[in-house]
């Protein structure tokens, strides 16, 4: 039994070690070294890289990134919950709807972002359409702003919110909803007093799955936000490739990782309290 378990677990453990633990350790070590002249790192050891994060310039980027990721998470849950509820209640059609939710994954995210650019730009479908209808005379500034980035994040990560929420709703014992109605709860009260609390673990999972990648995003902000909306992801990319400041990038990454892990623990504990 134990032997079989070892055989089964070893490949996954090796993969995790090589792809997650080792790189994380390298980043951790790099973050306390000094910057090399042409990229790379060199001695002496220092914690100055973390100190630089306190700079208001970076603080602003950090706050904006967290704010945008939080907004994307909130919107994904607000839009995802009703959608998941609808799918969970649609009986035989639920598999069709689930495939539709997953369908966008068949195309590269990058290509889908370019599609959004074609829709949103000044000469894009939306602006030319509105202009030809005579509703506007100047193109609306739809692209290259924070709103466009938020739209891209919500569009890209909505399935990650829908799927875990759907999973908890689908498992929800239908007799609990009947019991609530039987005890006098109207449909809205059933939703707030039974469905939502029991769905909390799924909502928590959705929050993590949307918040963490949103916080680290750089393609979405790069393509839809132009150069005006700098997020942590863009800062990391920029500092790594252009400024060649590897230790500073490592320090940013470590802080991001800590935020993500803390969030996961907070959500998990909340979920355990409920059940």
């Amino acid at each position: 039994m134990t032997r079989l378990r070892t055989i089964f677990v070893t490949p996954a453990a090796v993969l995790m070690l090589v792809t997650i633990v080792v790189p994380a350790a390298i980043i951790c070590v790099y973050s306390v070294l000094s910057r090399g002249a042409y990229g790379g790192v060199e001695l002496p050891w220092t914690i100055e890289n973390y100190g630089r994060l306190i700079d208001p310039l970076y603080g602003g980027i950090f706050v904006r990134s967290v704010g945008l990721a939080a907004a994307a998470t909130a919107l994904c849950i607000l839009l995802g919950f009703p959608l998941a509820l609808f799918i969970a209640q649609s009986g035989a059609r639920r598999n069709l709807y689930l495939s539709l939710v997953i369908l966008p994954f068949w195309t590269s995210f990058l290509i889908r972002l370019y599609a959004w650019m074609f829709l949103l730009r000044d000469t894009g479908l939306i602006n030319t359409g509105l202009q030809s209808l005579g509703l506007i005379h100047q193109p609306l500034p739809l692209l290259y702003n924070t709103g466009a980035v938020l739209l891209g994040l919500v569009y890209g990560f909505l399935p990650f919110a829908v799927l875990p929420i759907y999973a908890t709703l689908e498992r929800l014992d239908k007799s609990l909803l009947e019991a609530a109605a039987d005890l006098g709860a109207r449909p809205l009260a059933v939703l707030t007093r039974v469905t939502l609390p029991l769905c909390a673990p799924g909502i928590g999972a959705a929050a993590i799955l949307v918040f963490v990648p949103s916080l680290g995003t750089y393609i979405t902000s790069d393509l839809l936000g132009g150069s005006k909306t700098i997020l942590i992801g863009n800062l990391v990319q920029n500092q790594f490739t252009t400024a060649r400041d590897w230790p500073f990038v490592a320090a940013i990454s470590i802080v991001l990782m800590i935020v993500a892990v803390m969030l996961m623990f907070a959500v998990r504990r909340r979920g355990e309290e409920l059940l």
Partner: protein, 316 residues
């Protein structure tokens, strides 16, 4: 006593089958009324129609003088004890019991919660979660949660089936005592004829979505109107198309008038009495119930007889 609940020609047609067909019943206020039948007979659907979880295809449901069949569940003064209990896992015992009072505020709510928790002996476990309770305790919380709202009728959907057999008899007695104590009308769904006979003031036997016969346990047992009712309640021998209960069959070595000879096929000791299964010369098997002290050897030739008055005849 006036009727608190009345079903008039109630039918429910699902896409593929007819679950309930033209069911008419009247339940007296304060009664312990059972719907008895095998699985798929429509008893649970009938209960769900009364609770409002299903809408009838046709027919009427009258509760306390008001027609309720078009009302949503939260507007009906009936409460349900579910087969799986359906306790809210995120709430404590107290939270579960108080759940319905939020929607039907009562001045004496606190007092009612305290009293009902004492009635079901769960007062000391009020802050436990359902996952920390035994099956019997969960069942009592489910009862308390429904009874605290003082429903006109309490609907119970096989509430004992999830309990192990030893506990079931004890809980059965508690259930009966609780019904007497509270005076609430119980409508009890079960497939267990022994349970129905032991608990009920009246029973309606259902089959294929229809009520086969309704009456007191004694009426149903002694004067079954159909073959189905006769076989479903208690044990029944069938000889030449005539029904005879095992306790009415006499076994002896000497021949009586109208006695039939047979051979003892096997015997079962049941504590206070004994069952003999006797193969008649025609090949039919007859079970006779005798005192425990009576002994016949297997293979022995015996005479089987009964009073004509105990014979049950059915046209269908």
């Amino acid at each position: 006593m006036e009727d608190i609940l009345e079903l008039r020609g109630l039918s429910k047609q699902f896409a593929t089958h007819r679950a309930v067909h033209e069911v008419s019943l009247a339940v007296e206020r304060g009664a312990f009324f059972s719907l008895l039948g095998p699985s798929g007979c429509g008893k649970t659907t009938t209960l769900r129609l009364i609770a409002g979880f299903e809408m009838p295809t046709s027919g009427e449901i009258w509760l306390n003088g008001t027609r309720i069949d078009a009302l949503p569940p939260f507007r009906r003064s009936v409460n349900t004890v579910f087969q799986s209990y359906a306790l809210f896992p995120h709430l404590t015992v107290l939270g579960n019991v108080e759940f319905g009072l939020r929607h039907a505020p009562a001045a004496d709510a606190e007092q009612r919660v305290r009293r009902v928790l004492e009635q079901v002996q769960m007062a000391d476990k009020r802050s436990r979660k359902p996952s920390e309770l035994s099956g019997g305790e969960r069942q009592r919380v489910a009862l308390a949660r429904a009874l605290v709202l003082a429903p006109d009728v309490l609907l119970l959907d096989e509430p004992l089936s999830a309990l192990d057999p030893q506990l079931r008899k004890q809980v059965r007695a508690e259930l009966k005592a609780l019904q007497r104590q509270t005076g609430v009308t119980f409508l009890f769904v079960t497939h267990d004829q022994e349970e129905a006979l032991a608990l009920s003031d009246r029973i309606a036997v259902m089959r294929g979505g229809e009520v086969e016969q309704a009456g007191t346990p004694q009426e149903l047992y002694q004067k079954p109107r159909t073959r189905f009712v006769a076989s479903f309640l208690g044990e029944m021998n069938w000889v030449d198309g005539i029904g005879i209960r095992p306790e009415c069959v006499r076994v002896s070595l000497d021949g009586f008038l109208n006695a039939r000879p047979g051979r003892v096929a096997h015997t079962t000791f049941l504590g206070p009495h004994r069952h003999f299964t006797i193969q008649l010369q025609g090949g039919e098997l007859v079970t006779a119930q005798t005192a425990a002290a009576v002994t016949f050897a297997i293979g022995e030739t015996v005479q089987v007889s009964w009073d004509a008055a105990d014979e049950l005849r059915f046209s269908s």
